[in-house]
Symmetry: C2
Subunit: 142 residues, 2 copies
């Protein structure tokens, strides 16, 4: 661990990079990536959401979401249905094929979390979670 790693930005970026490696290693045989998993999870909790609203939830640009939906749709995990009340809009739904993928995501996330948090007790884990949530809030506004 060099001194450079002590800087917060690099430390956070490094942790995220390592976590993503770990996540991907657990998903080697799956069409999923962390970003796609993130999208599926949000979709599970917000089925029927419009693309523009999901993009805002994920804090990405609508066009970025279009591409991700294209991929997930081509893999048969997500379905676009035109909104009957607004023919400009598409509403997004998970397919049956997506359900087992969501289970895999949950297992993978649990495995990565356990590996990442080895040596931290419950209180420390709660503190870390709370601190990261605070960081997200701080960086989100403005």
């Amino acid at each position: 661990m060099t001194r450079a790693e002590l800087d917060f930005s690099l430390l956070l970026a490094g942790a995220a990079r390592l976590m993503r490696h770990s996540f991907m290693a657990n998903l080697r045989d799956s069409p999923l990536t962390l970003a796609r998993a993130r999208m599926l999870i949000h979709l599970e909790r917000n089925e029927g959401i419009r693309q523009v609203d999901l993009a805002e939830l994920l804090e990405i640009q609508p066009m970025t979401l279009v591409r991700m939906v294209d991929q997930l749709a081509s893999e048969g995990l997500v379905e676009r249905r035109t909104d009957p009340a607004d023919r400009r809009a598409h509403r997004l739904y998970l397919t049956d094929a997506a359900r087992p993928q969501l289970d895999i995501i949950a297992e993978t996330a649990a495995a990565v979390r356990e590996k990442a948090l080895v040596g931290l007790d419950e209180a420390e884990r709660a503190q870390l979670t709370a601190a990261l949530q605070r960081v997200c809030r701080n960086l989100s506004d403005g």
Copy 2:
């Protein structure tokens, strides 16, 4: 903050993404990015390092580093010199033009850190840093 954000992997990835946005916003008029900044910082502390060794330090593939060195060299921030003792190898050096960039990096990192850590006292910041370092160690091995 949805329930999905509570999952550790997504929370960490989200925090890193927001941090990177913030970092980039602070560097809008610069040729630097977070990855390039990371490389320059490691280079500052290890001038004359060979590419393969820097790649290992950064935990990226040598080819990935070649591209980054190409970019930084084309911007005049980094210089390749052939190793007199091993004509296969290049040793990397910062140019004078890189020094002010390193100052900018330090300022940007400080600004981002302050924005990210608003509302956390010194003890909480130290805990967060320690926890993230532990996470990095945990995810690094294996």
